[in-house]
């Protein structure tokens, strides 16, 4: 809840500040800025670049602040580290009580720690010393060194002077102490608000892991091999799908027989998510390359067939009539009218298909693969290497976004007449 509250606060404050500053600094007077009715006029809504920059910065700021990153100046309180202590009051069966102190040393996980040397102190309850890792808890067998133990009938009746019964718990300045049903103590130092690296590592750890894996590789393959194999499967599967799907779509758009024959198949296969085919493909083709290519081929095939079919149906009949009246043959009408006219639709379909293929290849690699981006994050997750998982997700996102941008550039370049018919 707190991160969300901070996020919303930054959103609102940034909006007010930018709004105030922008009206002062950059008074734009282009056509859109002079529109008075922008609410409901979608064309007048342009992304505020300041908002985009602040949005990204906010994500990194929150990520850093909640993981104790060195890159970020402000942090939310981290877990308690260092020495602290609390006392427990032990009551002997005869009703007499004695206090003893437990000296605690909280250390960062993964570092060596020395136990504090303590004096056992007077009375039948003796002082103890323990070490606890940050974010961890520790069961304290406090009466190991006591003169009267739990087996003698002694029990803890108070922690730091606060009365407690078996199964109860006390929140002290040193942390949370639970008296277990068996009478021993379970101690948990204050966790603060930061995330533990095994749940969410700080950004620099992820960046460091990118460099490390780029240099040394992971699971027998370099980072570029993992990503390259995923890309190769996507491109090959997509190309095969397009190679079969586009002519199939054209045939369905041009011939009654083809339309009738393939309509039920295409309409049935279209709503089946490619992920649902993974088990069948594994049964048929195994977990090797061919299985993945088949899966991606199937993922791209229906999308491309439908795109080509709707590309044909999108041709204005007057264009076809005009071409026939100008003496074009059927083949020439296909070549010079139908195919160019359907290119925008094909491009849209190709963008969708590439997106679906990229998602499908990662999922297929999650299930079973020797190499690939999905396999990399799946194996890392099994070892709880969260930084690799996050790195993989970010790289997968960047590549998917890059593919889409490439298609958009190609589209602008190859079909400049899109939307202008």
């Amino acid at each position: 809840m707190i991160p969300l509250a901070i996020y919303v606060t930054i959103f609102v404050v940034a909006f007010v500040v930018v709004r105030f500053a922008a009206t002062r600094l950059s008074a734009r007077h282009d056509y859109t800025s002079l529109k008075t009715v922008t609410f409901g006029d979608e064309s007048a809504v342009r992304p505020d670049r300041w908002a985009s920059v602040i949005s990204l910065l906010t994500i990194f700021l929150l990520w850093g602040a909640f993981t104790g990153s060195k890159l970020v100046p402000v942090h939310v309180p981290g877990p308690f580290l260092g020495d602290t202590e609390f006392t427990y009051t032990l009551q002997a069966p005869d009703g007499s009580t004695d206090d003893a102190t437990i000296f605690v040393r909280v250390f960062p996980i993964g570092q060596d720690v020395e136990t504090r040397a303590v004096d056992p102190g007077p009375g039948f309850a003796k002082n103890d010393t323990i070490t606890v890792g940050a974010w961890r808890s520790q069961l304290i067998l406090f009466d190991k060194n006591d003169e009267i133990t739990r087996s003698d009938g002694a029990q803890v009746i108070a922690i730091d002077g606060i009365p407690v019964t078996m199964g109860g718990e006390v929140q002290t300045t040193a942390g949370r102490v639970v008296v277990t049903p068996k009478g021993s103590l379970n101690y948990e130092p204050p966790k603060g608000m930061q995330m533990e690296p095994i749940w969410l590592p700080p950004p620099e750890d992820v960046a460091g892991r990118v460099l490390e894996i780029a240099r040394e590789g992971y699971q027998n393959f370099t980072l570029w091999e993992h990503l390259g194999w995923s890309l190769y499967r996507v491109v090959l599967g997509f190309l095969l799908g397009a190679l079969v799907g586009i002519p199939l779509g054209y045939a369905m758009g041009l011939s009654n027989w083809f339309r009738g024959w393939f309509d039920p198949i295409v309409e049935f296969m279209r709503p089946v998510p490619p992920l649902a085919l993974i088990p069948l493909v594994i049964i048929w083709a195994g977990i090797g390359e061919s299985g993945k290519i088949i899966l991606l081929f199937l993922a791209a095939l229906w999308i491309m067939a439908i795109a080509a079919r709707s590309g044909v149906s999108g041709v204005r009949i007057s264009k076809v009539h005009a071409a026939f009246s100008l003496g074009a043959s059927k083949w020439q009408v296909l070549r010079h009218v139908i195919i160019p006219n359907s290119l925008p639709e094909i491009f849209t379909g190709a963008r969708v298909a590439m997106g679906v293929c990229w998602g499908t290849v990662v999922a297929a690699e999650l299930v079973a693969a020797e190499k690939g981006a999905g396999m990399m994050i799946m194996v890392a997750a099994k070892f709880q290497l969260t930084d690799i998982v996050i790195m993989g997700i970010i790289l997968i996102g960047i590549i998917g976004y890059g593919i889409d941008i490439l298609f958009r550039i190609a589209e602008r370049w190859l079909v400049p007449w899109k939307g202008k018919g």
Partner: protein, 312 residues
């Protein structure tokens, strides 16, 4: 409006391609002198012979779009077709173009039967029939290119036609960079570049603004006169039909049929002079009123029928 005329070389080439009489510049002149031979009627020109068109509706009914329409056009004649909506004029044009097969009757062009679209019958559509993925020049040269004519052979003609329609400086432009009027001029040039015997125009100027439309009407008249093509033009505008119709056909709906036919002098008058002068002619105003009231009567009849239909 450019004033270049079609060169003799091109007219000759065209005549060679389709060697029948009454073509080229000679045709309109011959007609004006009233010396056009009647005996060639069944062989040359365009004959619409007892065309009927009946569409079956999904609910079991049927629409009689055309009933027993017959007409003969001599080569080089300019016919405009007018009528209220639903009178079957677009259906008639589609049958002439060969896009639809009539349920009865036949179309004969120069002695052979029309069975499908062909380069001998060019088509100019209202809008959106140009190929956006080609520039102006490639659009205009589409017909010759499809026939396999070499660029060296068709380019002079294409350049010339672009000059005639006033688009010489726009030949490398993309279609979507042109205004509506310019696009229609490209459509006209594209049709002419293919050198058809008959040009069919389906409200070619319908989507243009009034000023551009008037200029384009002048261009259509000029092209008609200079090329001697047989032109059939469908329009909603009575003025346009009067100006661009040497013959004018008023069609009536339900079933679609020829209601009345006129022979008008305005197209010939308009060739040499300002169209506005022609419009000021008292005969023009008179004819316009006559035809307008005729169409109004038809429209009212349709409305009345529709109302009683709704009441019952």
């Amino acid at each position: 409006m450019p004033t270049t005329s079609i060169p003799a070389r091109w007219l000759q080439r065209r005549s060679k391609a389709a060697p029948h009489q009454g073509r080229g510049l000679a045709a309109p002149l011959a007609r004006k002198n009233g010396a056009n031979p009647e005996q060639g009627q069944t062989m040359t020109g365009l004959s619409i012979e007892n065309i009927s068109m009946r569409f079956d509706l999904p609910n079991g009914g049927a629409v009689q779009a055309l009933k027993d329409v017959s007409l003969h056009l001599k080569p080089g004649e300019l016919l405009s077709v007018l009528g209220p909506s639903g009178c079957g004029k677009t259906t008639l044009l589609n049958i002439l173009a060969g896009f639809l097969a009539p349920t009865a009757g036949q179309i004969m062009l120069n002695g052979h039967r029309v069975t499908g679209p062909d380069a001998e019958r060019g088509m100019v559509f209202q809008q959106g029939a140009l190929f956006e993925w080609m520039n102006v020049r490639d659009n205009v040269s589409f017909g010759p290119r499809m026939k396999g004519v070499s660029a060296a052979d068709y380019m002079p003609n294409v350049e010339h036609l672009l000059d005639v329609v006033g688009l010489k400086d726009f030949k490398d432009k993309a279609i979507y960079e042109l205004s509506g009027g310019m696009q229609q001029r490209v459509a006209l040039a594209r049709c002419l570049a293919n050198d058809p015997d008959v040009i069919l125009m389906d409200e070619p100027l319908g989507a243009l603004d009034a000023l551009t439309r008037e200029k384009m009407q002048g261009l259509v008249l000029k092209l008609w006169k200079e090329t001697g093509k047989t032109i059939i033009l469908i329009t909603h505008s009575v003025e346009e039909a009067l100006l661009l119709g040497e013959r004018l056909l008023v069609m009536a709906p339900r079933p679609g049929r020829i209601h009345k036919e006129y022979r008008l002098p305005f197209a010939d008058m308009g060739v040499g002079q300002d169209l506005r002068t022609v419009k000021k002619h008292p005969d023009f105003a008179e004819k316009r009123e006559e035809i307008l009231s005729m169409i109004w009567d038809m429209e009212e009849e349709i409305m009345g029928r529709a109302e009683t239909g709704a009441g019952a």
